[in-house]
Amino acid sequence: MFAHLMDNLDLWRIGFANTLSLTVLSFVIGFIIAIPVGLARSRTGTWMSRITYGYVYIIRGTPLLVQIFLLYYGAGQFHKALSQLGLWWLFREAYYCGLFALILNTVAYQAEIVRGAVLAIPKSLEEAGASVSLSMLQIFRFIHLPIATARMLPALGNEFVLLLKASALVSVIAVTDVMGQARYLFSETLDLSVYYVAAINYLAIVLVAEAILRKLEARNIWLNPR
């Protein structure tokens, strides 16, 4: 029954690598962008906060599928302009386009996580830091950053899993990730078991990711003392 698995090991390997790299890259790049976006979001009342809110609202209000279609096929209409800007490669190459869509998507969700963590740090700790003569930068580095990171960890772990699942959608623009390979193999063999192989791939990544997350969380014993 699983003969096709052995025959197509290389395809699966490529698919696995693509899924993993798409997820990890978009997660990390998304996080870096989400920090300033989340900070801007948490300054209520400023125009920066309104713009970022609009961004988050639109991204969270539309299916990723539609976002991917819009980027990949929609951009085709602006071929000329994009070529002139030197950005065409980003939209022509399905992998990059998918990566781009995932980043745009996860930034919106991670920015909300950053914002929540920032709002949860009590102002009084800044004062305590100042009272032992820490500079603003030191307060950020030794107080804000570690506390916020620890607070964000569970939500970030959750977002990683969601992003992994979301990455399967890039298969609709023919990226050869796990899902893409499964769909290709199914069209070739009409053997349903390829989808179960794909499922095992995703399940394995989630289980490993969650094990790592638990290890990381265990280091923050201060969050649940006693």
Binding site: S124, A128, G129, S131, V132, S133, S135, I143, W222, P225
Partner: protein, 253 residues
């Protein structure tokens, strides 16, 4: 306004003159004049909202002010990063709600300031921290996290954390009012022994027993002003102002 009338040669370490502060339209500090001599122990009392916290928070520039002048150890407090960080090095502060860093162990709470703010080598910072943790009677808790300690223990750590900076002055903002009654004494005992060692202290507190035992001067504030100040014996037995009498009556039921 009664001024400190002794003309002793002791050095003046904090000098506040004509201090004024507003929160929007709210005038919270009105023309405060106060000189603190080295080694002096001052207790500040007064009804809620009278500006006690605001006053002592101005001294290490946790609050900005709009008028007047504060000089700490010969240096005028101005809005300059270096000057403020320097002054905060000399002025320790203990908060009502402890404000320990929850993500750091007790030991790390005490060494963060010395290592990062004073550039002390780590071993020395640890040695110093253990010295002061011993002094506040909780060396055995050094590796725990704040959340694992009782309120009284946390406040003692907060005192040790301040002491690790070798401050010339210690500010206390109601250090015992967030504590369960049975823990008040363990914190006051530490404060008394600090006072006996000659630490310059400004304490906002309603612990009148503490004031009687150690204060050189008790200051009564109301509506942003210093209404009255005197040595504790005079202050408690012979208050001048109506408001002071009322306040003392409330405190002693």
């Amino acid at each position: 306004m009664a001024h400190s009338d002794q003309k002793t040669p002791a050095k003046i370490i904090i000098s506040i003159s004509a201090l004024n502060k507003w929160y929007g339209d709210l005038h919270v500090l009105r023309d405060i004049d106060l000189d603190v001599k080295k080694g002096e122990r001052i207790v500040i009392a007064g009804p809620s909202g009278s500006g006690k916290s605001t006053l002592i928070r101005c001294i290490n520039y946790l609050e900005k002010y709009q008028g007047g002048k504060i000089v700490v150890d010969g240096v005028e407090l101005i809005d300059d990063r270096k000057i403020i960080e320097n002054i905060r090095r000399e002025v320790g502060m203990v908060f009502q709600s402890f404000n320990l860093f929850p993500h750091l162990t007790i030991l790390e709470n005490c060494t963060l300031g010395p290592i990062q703010g004073l550039d002390l080598p780590k071993e020395q910072a640890i040695e110093k921290a253990m010295h002061f943790l011993n002094k506040v009677n909780i060396p055995e808790q050094a590796d725990k996290y704040p959340g694992q300690l009782s309120g009284g223990q946390q406040q003692r750590v907060a005192i040790a954390r301040s002491l690790c900076m070798n401050p010339d002055v210690m500010l206390f903002d109601e250090p015992t009012s967030a504590l369960d009654p049975e823990m008040v004494k363990e914190v006051l005992d530490i404060m008394v022994s600090l006072a006996k060692e000659g630490m310059t202290m400004l304490c906002v507190t309603h612990e009148m027993g503490f004031a009687k035992e150690v204060a050189d001067r008790v200051i009564f504030m109301d509506e942003g002003q210093i209404m009255e100040q005197n040595n504790p014996v005079e202050f408690f037995t012979n208050p001048q102002h109506e408001r002071t009498k009322e306040f003392l009556k409330q405190i002693f039921f």
